[in-house]
């Protein structure tokens, strides 16, 4: 029982970062913009958050800086893909290349002179600690949900809210209209470009926040490439969730669970029957099969599972 509780605790801590970024990417994609720059944006969020916390010792300011950095980077993507109608795959990739490169570069330049300008190996004076809710935290196993950081508690509100916002408000309706059929959306009087800009930037802000969760809470430190491919898992998670913000959390728990299972089993000294490398690729394989099977099934009958129709398709109102 103790093992499972610990496993769940690590899963939730790791899943927090993934959930923020996944929710952000769902909103971005629902509006019709594919942002493959998540890996770079999350890493920039992790770096800017950590550097700010290191110099100001103020976690709120650090979060704000990470969010703004994420917003700024996704603004580049929005400009390229919405205004300049560039290829979104290539644009996202360039954001990831640029973001990871810049974060690793700055990580070795922004540090204190005593450490050769390096931020690697520096410690924070404060971090987001777990806050236990008396009573609830002692529930067997599920108590793990009530001994988490404020970043995770916030998600308990944000997840249902983002589901509600997407499916029960007119703003959500506007996002879906723009992502499914920009022409119809225009006829409805919606400003397609503005909406796409808005949710691409919001998505990037969430990714920046997700990155900061890593460097300020999960493993409070800075390391080169510390997101370790989480930004790509996010893309997988969006598909896994079927573009539904309410379901995003299932994916992040499953995927976070698989990853933390690796560490927990190793730490517990269990002789591995399945090589760890195969556990590590499981999330990607599951996503691959989910996407393929769901798409094939969806071809045969009109199902609920589908990517937004206008995903990654530029829209120009002036074009004939």
């Amino acid at each position: 029982m103790d093992f499972i509780t610990k496993l769940l605790a690590v899963t939730i801590a790791m899943g927090t970062s993934l959930t923020y970024a996944t929710l952000g990417e769902i909103y971005t994609q629902k509006s019709g913009v594919l942002n493959l720059g998540m890996e770079g944006i999350m890493l920039m969020g992790a770096l800017s958050g950590f550097a700010t916390a290191f110099y100001t010792a103020n976690l709120a300011v650090a979060l704000l800086v990470a969010i703004l950095t994420g917003g700024l980077f996704s603004l580049i993507h929005a400009f390229l893909s919405v205004t300049m109608r560039a290829n979104q795959v290539v644009s996202g990739l360039s954001i990831t290349l640029f973001g990871t490169g810049l974060a690793n570069f700055l990580g070795q330049r922004l540090g204190p002179e005593s450490n050769n300008f390096n931020l690697v190996g520096m410690n924070l004076s404060s971090k987001f600690d777990n806050i236990a809710i008396p009573g609830l935290e002692s529930i067997p196993v599920l108590g793990a949900f009530f001994d988490v950081s404020i970043l995770t508690y916030a998600l308990y509100l944000i997840i249902p809210f983002s589901w509600f916002f997407m499916y029960k408000t007119r703003f959500g309706l506007a996002i879906r209209a723009v992502g499914e059929s920009p022409k119809t959306a225009t006829a409805m009087g919606l400003n397609v470009s503005a909406i796409r800009y808005l949710y691409t930037v919001i998505g990037g802000m969430m990714a920046g926040l997700g990155g900061a969760c890593l460097s300020l809470s999960f493993t409070p430190s800075w390391n080169d490439g510390m997101t370790g491919g989480k930004g790509w898992i996010v893309i997988a998670l969006v598909i896994f969730a079927g573009w539904n913000p309410g379901k995003a959390v299932i994916g992040t728990l499953v995927f976070g669970g698989i990853t933390s299972l690796q560490f927990s089993l190793q730490a517990a000294g269990v002789k591995m029957v399945i090589p760890t490398q195969f556990l590590a690729i499981a999330p990607y394989l599951i996503t691959f099969f989910t996407l393929s099977v769901m798409t094939i099934a969806n071809n045969n009958r009109k199902g609920a599972f589908a990517a937004p129709s206008a995903l990654a398709v530029p829209f120009a109102i002036d074009d004939k």
Partner: protein, 351 residues
């Protein structure tokens, strides 16, 4: 008054040269700001990079060696891009090429020695082709989104490679990775550090240029990419073309992986996923899918990497400056690519 983008009557030839050139200069300018902001003299830094990449014959050889996998990967994704098939799986196909060649050289010892190397490269190409074929078939027959499948398969390929060099095929002792290949299976060096793979790469450029610009097949690929409906009316089987193009694309990425393994690392080991497949996408994009232009672009991109290595030694600046510049060069390029088809127009609105 407002500025709008208006569609051009026809594409301008000179734009395909002007846009990449202007983008490169712009990215150097933005890079200079990054350098200055981190208290380094940009001019001095760029001079050190240029010297590091092209300073003498030996440095240039390193740059060429770095450019070869980039060039081949760029050619690989370029074929798929012609069909508007967004193959971002060259990284995984590259890794499978490395796995394939290692498998043959390590275990097919029943073959006569001189056959081992060609058989290995061939198997590496087949492995890459099959890995690209999976998303190809899924896209062609069931419309499964290829950007996401190729991306996911990259991580599967990397995981398999890790399992092989950490566990299954690991050398009994010594450094991490499989045992070193016997000498007769290693590619010979033809000019300093430059290995004979350079001839294969250049031959590939010529072959692809011929296939893409001078044959019906190349014509059909272009047509499918530009106007699939018209292509179908002409009797072109789009499904078959996608699968064939992807098999070729994957085989070429596999070739890059197997060549790098027999020429540089001489074993399957950590670093097999060095990102050549991803950077190949930039190469294909910047060269506007033209095989000959890819040569120059690959050299420029490689010089950013080798130049950044020198930057670290000369000025103690992090080598990730190379990645910063590689990512930066794409941003103005993408912003500029709209000017292929559109031009800016000032509209005066009537009161």
């Amino acid at each position: 008054m407002r500025l709008v983008l208006e569609k051009r009557e026809r594409r301008l030839k000179r734009m395909s040269l002007l846009i990449p050139l202007f983008s490169f200069i712009l990215s150097l300018l933005i890079g200079a700001i990054v350098l200055a902001a981190s208290k380094a003299d940009p001019i001095q830094a760029y001079a050190a990079m240029a010297k590091g990449a092209f300073g003498n014959a030996r440095r240039f050889q390193y740059t060429v060696v770095e450019a070869l996998p980039l060039l081949i990967c760029g050619l690989s994704v370029g074929i798929a891009f012609r069909l508007r098939f967004w193959n971002i799986g060259a990284e995984g196909q590259f890794v499978w090429g490395a796995i394939g060649v290692t498998w043959v050289i390590q275990f097919w010892t029943f073959l006569p020695d001189p056959l081992l190397l060609p058989a290995g490269i061939l198997v590496g190409m087949i492995a890459g082709a099959l890995w690209a074929g999976i998303p190809g078939v899924l896209k062609a027959y069931w419309a499964v989104d290829e950007t996401l499948t190729t991306l996911m398969l990259n991580y599967v390929a990397i995981g398999v490679a890790e399992y092989l060099y950490i566990k299954a095929w690991k050398a009994p002792k010594g450094i991490l990775g499989t045992p070193e290949f016997p000498e007769f299976t290693q590619l010979s060096q033809v000019w300093g550090k430059v290995h004979s793979g350079v001839f294969i790469a250049l031959a590939l450029v010529v072959i692809l240029w011929f296939l893409l610009y001078k044959t019906t097949w190349g014509f059909e690929l272009n047509m499918i990419g530009k106007n699939p409906v018209a292509a179908r009316y002409q009797g072109v089987s789009i499904e078959k073309s996608i699968v064939i193009a992807l098999l070729i694309s994957g085989a070429i990425a596999g070739l890059a992986g197997s060549l790098n393994t027999v020429a540089i690392t001489h074993r399957l080991t950590r670093g097999v996923n060095a990102g050549y497949g991803f950077t190949g996408i930039i190469i294909a994009w910047m060269s506007n899918l033209n095989p000959f232009a890819s040569i120059i672009v690959a050299i420029v991109m490689a010089s950013l990497t080798t130049g950044a290595d020198a930057l670290q030694i000369a000025m103690k600046l992090p080598e990730s400056m190379g990645a910063v510049l590689q990512g930066l060069v794409l941003i103005p390029l993408l912003a500029g690519s709209v000017f292929h088809d559109y031009h800016l127009k000032l509209i005066r609105e009537e009161e």
